[in-house]
């Protein structure tokens, strides 16, 4: 049997994903997914772990500068054995670079200057050159960009998150169409699982409670009477 059937049993043992925005919970728990992923061959398991380190938000470091983050990402991508996974990580980090530029510009940042490496991938120099263009002249490459800018300008973070998750979901659907029982199909499954987990974790009440707690912590150190 060829590499296209390598993970037949594993993929058949995973419950199917429904539509992203209709999901109430992930089709199986993280614990059970991790147990199934123990069937992976070592190289593939390492690729999947690198993918998680490079794309999961809770793995991201905010205590280092952009240049170090880009270097770390490039080093991580170079270590991925599977070309499909490498391309997927590159695509996602490029998407985040475009979005970071959009957010940075809206916050009043000027164009990235000089040789400083501020973003990942092939579009970083292009974005710096076209900083004043509304969509950095990338609307043909990223058709969702005008809509993302509009949502950002309107102050609709939930709409923007929905748009971005939907974009990644559709991209996965397209690149995974030719893969059924191979490692690539498994990568698509796991990334989709992460998207569903992220979307179903969003909880307005929990966010409000967390915001209140943060606010109380911040205000506790301020003497309001003396401030007045």
């Amino acid at each position: 049997m060829g590499p296209q059937d390598r993970y037949l049993t594993l993929l058949a043992s995973l419950p199917a994903h429904g539509p992203l925005f209709g999901a109430k919970q992930t089709p199986l728990s993280r614990l059970r997914l991790n147990m199934r992923l123990k069937w992976l061959e070592p190289d593939d398991a390492a690729d999947l772990a690198t993918l998680a380190v490079l794309t999961d938000w809770h793995h991201q470091r905010f205590d280092v500068d952009d240049e170090a983050v880009v270097r770390e990402a490039e080093r991580g991508i170079a270590g991925i054995h599977n070309a499909f996974t490498r391309d997927l990580v590159t695509w996602r980090l490029e998407l985040r670079t475009v979005l970071a530029a959009l957010r940075g510009r809206r916050a009043g940042a000027g164009p990235p200057s000089g040789r400083r490496r501020w973003g990942f991938g092939r579009w970083a120099p292009h974005i710096a050159r076209h900083w004043s263009e509304p969509h950095f002249r990338l609307e043909r490459v990223y058709p969702w960009l005008p809509e993302a800018k509009r949502l950002l300008d309107d102050g609709d973070p939930l709409g923007l998150e929905r748009l971005l998750l939907g974009t990644v979901w559709t991209h996965l659907e397209r690149i995974g169409a030719e893969h059924y029982f191979d490692f690539e199909a498994l990568v698509v499954y796991v990334v989709r699982w992460d998207l569903v987990a992220r979307w179903t974790r969003y909880d307005a009440d929990a966010a409000l409670t967390r915001f209140d707690a943060l606010l109380e912590t911040a205000l506790a150190s301020i003497d309001l009477d003396s401030a007045a």
């Binding site: 059937d5 037949l8 049993t9 993929l11 058949a12 419950p15 199917a16 059924y180």
Partner: protein, 148 residues
């Protein structure tokens, strides 16, 4: 030269069975792995998955019948016919077995999610089976015309 032609005749005679068996082995292994995976994920209906996974085994049966139909004295006159029919029928059975296994694996995946499409999901595998039957029947018909 005669010995080589006679060797080809024997190759064709056994080729139908051997290639058909390889197709069935690979096909059943592919569908069987999908069935095992589906059993891990579901609480009931496991018998159906196993039943579907043995569908590609028909290739070896067709191969046996073709081999017996081709069985005769292998001479310089009969060997080319035996070789041509046996080998080409065997190749068709080989591919049919492997691809039917894939179709069955996909059917198992689909019926796991939607048990109500059990019958429909088997249609692609059944169509592949139909083409295999064509190969089988016409191999038998042509085998009767091989000169002695």
């Amino acid at each position: 030269m005669n010995e080589f032609v006679i060797a080809l005749g024997w190759t064709g005679m056994f080729g139908a069975l051997a290639l058909g068996a390889i197709g069935s082995i690979v096909g059943c292994a592919i569908a069987g792995q999908a069935a095992i995976g589906a059993m891990v994920d579901t609480e009931s209906g496991q018998g159906r998955y196993l039943g579907v996974s043995v569908m590609p085994s028909t290739g070896v049966i067709y191969g046996i019948v073709i081999m017996f139909t081709l069985q005769r004295d292998v001479t310089a006159t009969s060997a080319p016919g035996i070789f041509g029919i046996g080998l080409l029928a065997g190749i068709a059975l080989l591919y049919a077995g492997i691809l039917q296994g894939r179709a069955c694996a996909s059917a198992i995946q689909a019926m796991k999610v939607k048990p109500e499409i059990f019958g429909l999901s088997l249609a692609p595998a059944a169509i592949v089976e139909g083409f295999t039957v064509f190969v089988f029947v016409f191999a038998l018909v042509l085998a009767g015309n091989i000169p002695a």
